[in-house]
């Protein structure tokens, strides 16, 4: 979305999401970040995320970021949406592996 080095980190935002499946929780979480970019002009390079439940699942996040400032923020691609194209979320021996394609 933007070069994080050109963004002043001034916003801390709590986000809570619930979804029936773990992959949909990931889809909804990333969709939320894209939504906030358009609604509030805010982008979040960092977040602390906790996931709980065994279905439905719940995500609680504290996202840290800032407001896009056209004068100083170096803009990149404008994400439109999270797609289901080649969408994979799977548990591996090392943890979790996700593959996502964002439409830009």
């Amino acid at each position: 979305m933007v070069d994080p080095a050109t963004l002043s980190i001034t916003v801390e935002r709590g986000v809570t999401i619930e979804a029936p499946q773990l992959d949909l929780l990931l889809y909804d979480w990333l969709s939320e970040l894209i939504y906030l970019k358009d609604r509030d002009r805010q982008v979040f390079p960092a977040a602390q995320v906790t996931i709980a439940g065994k279905g439905p699942f719940r995500l609680d996040a504290i996202a840290r970021g800032g407001t896009i400032d056209a004068e100083h923020t170096a803009l990149g691609a404008d994400p439109k949406a999270v797609t289901f194209h080649q969408f994979v979320l799977e548990q591996t021996a090392d943890g979790w592996r996700a593959r996502l394609v964002i439409d830009i």
Partner: protein, 489 residues
């Protein structure tokens, strides 16, 4: 999803520039997949195109064939350049057949100005347009809407803008569906979509969206009679081309309903080969809700291009010191790329109501189609095909044959040959901007890396795409337009 080359090998020639994959080649195909391409364009298509177009051929209610236009490339769900019609009674509607950028489309505006008059002002003109038409991530438009007025935009489309002083009444007849598609239902639009899009009317967006100043060169008018009817009069004449869509509003509606359909499919016993093709019966509550919301987004895209047209007229008027009417800034036409529409077409000798999905494809109705303005009725619907920002664009008209062959559809662009990431590895945005300036094309961009992504070498040769359309009589070549200034998101 597989992207193996086996399906490409199963495509058989089925006439000049036509390739077909038979239903027997993949489990679940209900109809053949048909690809329109020369050998060279066929060879440039990603393997994913063949996987995707055959996946479309598996969807319930598809009629006759799943189609891919000569600019086809690997997309999400449908290939870009994909066209498919579904029986409105027992077929489906799929957000993956429309895309997130609902009614991303093209608008072409003529001017009465010559390149000789514009060239001395081109840097000032591009600078002023860049200020007047916000672009890039997080851009907000100048039109302030209440939620109630935004809902009227969803229903009235470009007509709302003209009613509020952003345009001329005669603009409306020169748009697909007069800039307002029937069936919009704001009650099926989420509050999130409203809050995401309500401040974006009049913004360009980013990616491959652009506002371009173009000129028709000597030798660029291929059909003088049709060109004159469309307002393309002589070499040296200047035009303005817009490529943009429904912005975050449409993106959110696509997101909302992809999620809803993903969960609804088991209720209807539908299985798809690719989750991005999530769909629901058109006549189901989910299908009707999506159609109402998607059409609302399509109408907001017409409104977006109308508001931008208003800004373009203001800027030209200021720079050239004459009002926009005197400068001849008339809309030639406005066409959608990403839509599903209810249309009546003949199938095996009888007329059927079909849900025609066009994903990165353009409607191309032939002469006599009732939706056309009287000035174009004898020549066919104008088709505006955008090329790369370096190489130019094409103006064509629809044909009677396209009505028979492709549900009145044609290509939408040159089609990418490489990913955005690959393009950025090959050229820097600021280098490309300097190179283009040296070739007489002035560029302003919200994102320099975005310019690199849109380099000419990242796209197929537009003339090769247009040649196939002309040879197959899917559209008829009218004029070629070359860029002299470009604004990119």
């Amino acid at each position: 999803m597989r992207t193996s080359p086996e399906l490409r090998a199963k495509a058989r020639p089925a006439g000049d520039c036509v390739w077909e994959i038979a239903p027997s080649e993949k489990a679940g195909m209900r109809v053949p997949a048909r690809i329109y391409a020369s050998e060279a364009l066929f060879g440039q298509m990603d393997d994913g195109v063949f996987e995707q177009v055959t996946n479309v051929a598996c969807l319930p209610g598809i009629v006759r064939a799943a189609l891919c236009m000569p600019d086809g490339h690997w997309g999400y769900g449908f290939p870009i350049g994909g066209v498919a019609a579904f029986d409105a009674e027992d077929g489906v509607i799929s957000p993956g057949g429309i895309g997130f950028d609902i009614n991303c489309g093209m608008r072409l505006i003529r001017t009465g100005l010559s390149e000789g008059e514009v060239r001395p002002h081109i840097t000032e003109l591009i600078g002023a347009l860049f200020e007047a038409v916000p672009s890039g991530v997080g851009a907000k438009g100048f039109v302030r809407l209440t939620e109630e007025s935004f809902r009227r935009v969803m229903v009235q489309g470009a007509g709302w803008c003209v009613g509020h002083g952003y345009g001329w009444p005669e603009d409306l007849e020169r748009m697909e569906g007069q800039g307002c598609l029937p069936g919009a239902d704001p009650t099926h639009v989420s509050a999130r979509a409203v809050s995401r899009g309500i401040e974006q009317l009049g913004t360009l967006g980013s990616g491959n969206h652009y506002l371009e100043i173009q000129v028709v060169r000597e030798g660029g008018i291929h059909d003088p009679v049709a060109a004159r009817a469309l307002g393309v009069e002589a070499p040296g004449q200047v035009f303005v081309m817009l490529h943009c869509g429904s912005r975050g509003f449409g993106h959110q509606i696509g997101t909302d309903y992809l999620r809803i359909f993903d969960q609804a499919m088991p209720r209807y016993g539908i299985r798809v080969n690719d989750r991005e093709l999530a769909c629901a019966p058109f006549r189901s509550p989910e299908g009707q809700a999506y159609f109402g919301a998607m059409t609302a987004a399509a109408n907001s895209a017409f409104a977006n291009r109308q508001v931008i047209t208003h800004r373009v007229r203001e800027v030209f008027s200021r720079i050239f010191g004459r009002d926009a009417r005197t400068l001849g800034l008339e809309v030639i036409y406005d066409v959608c790329h990403n839509t599903a529409k209810l249309e009546r077409h003949r199938v095996d000798g009888r007329e059927m109501e079909l849900v025609v999905h066009r994903k990165g494809a353009t409607r191309a109705f032939g002469p006599g189609a009732p939706d056309l303005p009287s000035a174009y009725r004898t020549i066919g619907q104008p088709v505006i095909i955008g090329g790369s920002m370096e190489t130019g664009s094409a103006l064509l008209v629809g044909t009677a044959h396209a009505m028979e062959e492709t549900w009145g559809s044609t290509a939408h662009g040159a089609g990418r040959t490489m990913s955005r990431a690959q393009a950025k590895k090959l050229v820097r945005g600021d280098t490309l901007i300097r190179d283009m300036a040296a070739r007489g094309i002035v560029v302003r961009a919200a994102s320099k890396s975005g310019v690199a992504e849109e380099a000419g070498f990242a796209y197929k040769d537009l003339s090769a795409v247009v040649d196939v359309l002309h040879r197959l009589d899917l559209s008829r070549r009218v004029a070629t337009l070359s860029p002299i200034g470009n604004i990119k998101g």
